[in-house]
Symmetry: C2
């Protein structure tokens, strides 16, 4: 094999100089039933950008599917049983989808267990269940914290796992 | 709405302090036919870690699916027609999958057009087509630069798009 030298002393050096994002987030579409209502869980954000959103947040130093479960727990109180940890619903990485930075998201689907109860120190002011009909109505409105969450929910509604 | 202040002045400040990976890569499974041989394209890496690999590389400041197409072009000479830019084949983000850093990968499938001809300044020493039978044989061997590429190819072979 050729032994031509790599262009940086270590890969950490390479990353330090060359990695400028995308920074990663995870989002999660949780199917949940509680008090005779069945649907998808959305939160209302406590911090900017305000509005309705899927539970989710910036990636930490854990695999993405674990990050999605952790954020779900913090923001909704639910245990999220991920459908497939290797195959997310979608990955969105357009440059302008988050107003703050170049942030891409890996989106999982899951079944929720437990009871809705957002942790009071987290991003969610409240969390609620929305039926598919309600979701379709909300998708027409300008009440979303992140416009690409509308795209995620459209992808979900088109190809949902029951 | 509550107007409790965010905990950092800007989101960039938050990221600077709190984002420590995962750093992102993309990989691509290219179906290609050339000189009466039809199969999947693999490269032999010119730099460490040495071995066989899927075409791919670190994410740059472009959407992941564009990154996958760019790396495919550089490392194989092929134009890659991505099957679905929103729905990758898989996303792998285990902490130890890359020996160098916490690097997660978004993996796309694509159809190749053009002719195999790796760019001489890129990571690939050579690129070749491997039939499914050949792939199954190679997956038994310890000749891979990244062990998780074996997992990707197993996922592909189980659920391949024809």
């Amino acid at each position: 094999m050729e032994t031509k030298k790599p262009r940086y002393a270590t890969f950490k050096d390479y990353l330090k100089e060359n990695y400028h994002g995308p920074y990663m987030a995870t989002d999660i579409v949780i199917r949940h039933e509680e008090d005779h209502k069945k649907g998808i869980v959305l939160i209302e954000r406590k911090y900017p950008p305000f509005g309705l959103a899927l539970p989710g947040g910036m990636a930490e130093n854990i695999p993405f599917y674990q990050n999605a479960v952790k954020e779900a727990k913090e923001e909704t109180g639910l245990e999220a049983m991920i459908d497939n940890k290797d195959k997310p619903l979608c990955v969105l990485s357009e440059l302008d989808q988050d107003p703050r930075e170049f942030i891409a998201t890996v989106v999982y689907t899951a079944k929720g267990t437990g009871y809705l109860k957002p942790c009071k120190d987290e991003d969610a002011k409240s969390a609620g269940i929305y039926t598919e009909d309600e979701l379709r109505g909300l998708l027409e409105k300008d009440i979303w914290a992140f416009p690409h969450h509308k795209k995620i929910l459209k992808i979900y509604l088109e190809q949902k796992i029951n």
